[in-house]
């Protein structure tokens, strides 16, 4: 139930509903999209970015908040940790326990490697768990990996690294098959045909889903498999610095027990960074759909050790974050809501865009509707537009919402909003880190040998914008890939003497650049205590 202040607009939405269902809005032309993005997308706000003065990407611009972390001091000094007596000594060290990290662990274990996972919170506390809508794979007869490639390459503004995108689309069907064989419950017809839908920017219906718990279903299955294989998982332990060997190859990490503050050393023949995204950096003050630990740690670890970033200046703002009620402000409203037929409607009840443009275009369009065009709904805490969910029941029949998007129904239901009968208010939320560490097709960073990266911490797979359903796909494809290759590489690797000298080198570079900062990194967790948030204001 919405309060009085919303009723007038709500009535306009209801009255226009039948006509809006029938109305097929045009898609924007390439030129319209370009102009819209330049004027309204947060990535184009020049004063929110800073040029890096040190490190492998010196001269490149990144979000201000990220620049501070990338150029910050380490949490330790090089002499502070005894590297000669490691607590853990393994073949493959995986940093991060989300979808990419667990996929990598399963494959490395399958290849016979002695593998371990360290994770800052619990295994499964990850953006994977929160991915709702689905996972792409071109496995229907009217589709092909080539069409998938074109969709993703165009949607990413022709910036994806071809060899990475090739791997993403070509390995996609096998990734689905692998998950299915592990027991992931995909939505299927009685004859086994996958139930698939569109996502923004797809030209074929190739979105596979597990209701709207797609990521959760995948994550809990991968987690269960890691536990079945009895792969060691050291939880509530973060990696705070990579360790290199005397030859400059990645050879482990310094670990921090998040509860006791104890430092430990993990020595490894190969290291995989699978630390995920950065939503909790709250770039440009945006709320986020991300989990609590999404603080770009892997980018910081890799950067300080000499690995290059690619497209770190591009972020994805999911067009439909919850704008109301405030208790779920910024929470993800899955794109699947639009895949199932709900359209975006402004304060006057007018459909103002095609509901399935790519995410960057949709986000920019909503921002324009709420700013320049002044057609947003005032929520009391900000602005938003309507996402007319009751359309889904009218199009798909009664019961469609409960069957296909139960999590959304529950999330709003807890605050007295029945999305089957009432529309919801949405506004863009910080959702995904398009950029990240630069890798080759085998998953290894281009600059630091024996350092692999998988999942959201990678840059270049998607280019400058990612399509819905290509992230769950990338964590599986590139997680498995990194696990397999890191295990193989470990077999032929002999680790030299361990060193943290790169910290000193980075300190020297910082001093020479004249940067004065008290910041330390990685950030590990955001701080939402009142004393801190009030200081921010």
């Amino acid at each position: 139930m919405y309060a009085e202040q919303f009723q007038k607009s709500l009535k306009a939405v209801e009255e226009a509903r039948e006509a809006n269902i029938a109305y097929e809005p045009a898609r924007m032309t390439a030129k319209e999209k370009e102009d819209l993005l330049a004027a309204y997308h947060p990535d184009y706000k020049q004063d929110e970015f800073e040029v890096l003065q040190i490190g492998p990407n010196k001269g490149d611009k990144v979000p201000k908040e990220l620049a501070e972390m990338l150029q910050a001091h380490s949490r330790i000094t090089s002499g502070e940790v005894d590297l000669t007596n490691p607590t853990y000594d393994v073949d493959v060290l995986i940093i991060g326990g989300g979808g990419a990290g667990t996929s990598a662990a399963i494959e490395a274990h399958e290849a016979g490697a002695n593998v371990m996972i360290v994770t800052k919170l619990r295994m499964g506390d990850a953006n994977t768990m929160m991915a709702e809508g689905g996972i792409q794979a071109a496995d229907k007869p009217n589709d092909s990996p080539a069409i998938h490639y074109i969709d993703a390459f165009g949607g990413g503004h022709y910036a994806a690294k071809p060899e990475l995108l090739y791997k993403l689309v070509n390995d996609a069907p096998e990734a689905i098959q692998w998950l299915n064989k592990l027991g992931v419950e995909f939505d299927k017809m009685p004859d086994g045909t996958m139930v698939t839908t569109h996502g923004g920017g797809t030209s074929r219906k190739r979105m596979h889903a597990c209701k709207d718990y797609s990521g959760a279903e995948i994550m809990r299955t991968l987690r269960d498999e890691v536990l079945n294989r009895q792969i060691p998982v050291v939880d509530f332990t973060s990696a705070i610095e990579l360790i290199l060997d005397e030859n400059g190859k990645a050879a482990g990490a310094v670990l921090l027990n998040m509860e006791t503050g104890d430092l430990m050393v993990a020595k490894a023949k190969t290291v995989i960074i699978a630390t995920g995204g950065a939503g909790r950096m709250h770039y440009q003050g945006f709320p986020t759909s991300n989990h609590y630990g999404a603080t770009a740690d892997g980018l910081v670890l890799g950067y300080r050790a000499g690995a290059k970033l690619l497209y770190a200046e591009t972020l994805q703002y999911h067009p439909t974050g919850a704008a109301f009620p405030e208790q779920i402000f910024g929470a993800l409203v899955t794109e699947k809501v639009r895949s199932l037929g709900a359209k975006l409607v402004n304060r006057e009840g007018k459909v103002f865009m095609h509901p399935l443009e790519t995410r960057d275009v949709s986000a920019a369009s909503i921002i324009r509707e709420c700013t320049t065009r002044e057609n947003g709904v005032d929520t009391g805490a900000g602005l938003g537009v309507w996402l007319d969910t009751p359309m889904i029941e009218k199009i798909g029949g009664e019961g469609t919402i409960e069957k296909r998007i139960p999590a959304m129904m529950r999330m709003f239901g807890k605050y007295g909003i029945d999305i089957r009968k009432e529309p919801i208010l949405v506004y863009p939320t910080l959702h995904y880190q398009n950029g990240g560490l630069d890798i080759a097709q085998n998953g290894m960073t281009t600059q630091v040998e024996n350092l692999y990266v998988a999942g959201e911490a990678v840059g270049g797979i998607h280019g400058r914008n990612r399509l819905m359903g290509n992230s769950l796909l990338d964590i599986i494809v590139f997680g498995r890939n990194a696990g397999q290759n890191a295990a193989a590489k470990a077999k032929e690797t002999t680790v030299g003497a361990l060193t943290l000298s790169h910290i000193d080198a980075f300190d020297k570079e910082r001093a020479e650049a004249g940067i004065e900062t008290d910041a330390i990194s990685p950030k590990l967790l955001p701080d939402y205590r009142r004393s801190v948030t009030e200081l921010d204001k």
Partner: protein, 224 residues
């Protein structure tokens, strides 16, 4: 001025704005959370919480990130609960009645008290899905338990010592792997890719100049 309510975190009183979730209220009070906080969106089950409203006998449970504070709320978090997770080999285990008997025999000791269902933070019919598991109906168990976030509150209330979320996890994997119908078009496509069917097409795309890719993208046919 915001309207404030009094809550009791582990018995200690704090005054917090009434519009906050329990999780945000803890942070408002000054807690820097490490345990008991994961996705902050109701999907991960990290923030299982028990509370009782002053003067009320009933013990309530919830996810701290999904529940607003109330006046007189006595709050204790349950950031970890020792569930029993039995190890199995998904390739060797079979979807028969015997599986549950072997791995989770305690489910047959269920006394039907329904405390699990009453305590479910997701509002699931937990006792029902355990009943399905007892009789080897894994498909029904999988469907009934699908929205489980594995927070463990049900198990904390169970007098029979059942680890409901893990029982359901096993049932879902059995159902997904062995009972759900095979996907013919998926198997066909994987084979086509292994046979190199799309290789030339993809290699060709990878070499194309950007302008040609733009043409292809902007004029591609979109399935209705």
């Amino acid at each position: 001025m915001e309207n404030m309510v009094n809550i009791f975190l582990f018995g200690k009183k704090y005054s917090v704005p009434e519009n906050l979730t329990i999780m945000r209220a803890m942070e408002y009070a000054g807690y820097q959370l490490v345990r008991g906080c994961g996705c902050r969106n109701g999907f991960c089950g990290a923030c299982a919480t028990i509370y009782r409203i002053k003067g009320d006998r009933e013990l309530k449970v919830c996810l701290a990130c999904q529940t607003k504070v109330e006046e007189g709320m006595y709050i204790a978090t349950l950031p970890f609960f020792p569930l029993v997770k039995q190890v199995f080999d998904i390739e060797k285990v079979k979807p028969t009645d015997m599986v549950m008997m072997q791995l989770y025999p305690e489910i047959y000791a269920c006394i039907g008290c329904n405390a699990c269902t009453k305590s479910c933070t997701q509002g699931l019919n937990v006792m029902q899905y355990i009943a399905y598991a007892q009789r080897g109906d894994f498909e029904a168990c999988a469907e009934e338990s699908f929205d489980c976030v594995m927070c463990g509150v049900c198990s904390s209330r169970c007098p029979a010592g059942i680890s409901h979320p893990q029982v359901a996890m096993l049932a879902r994997r059995l159902n997904g792997k062995y009972l759900a119908p095979e996907t013919g078009h998926l198997n066909d496509r994987v084979k086509e890719i292994k046979d190199g069917t799309f290789e030339e097409l993809l290699q060709n795309l990878m070499q194309k100049p950007i302008d040609e890719m733009k043409e292809l993208y902007n004029n591609r046919e979109i399935e209705k």
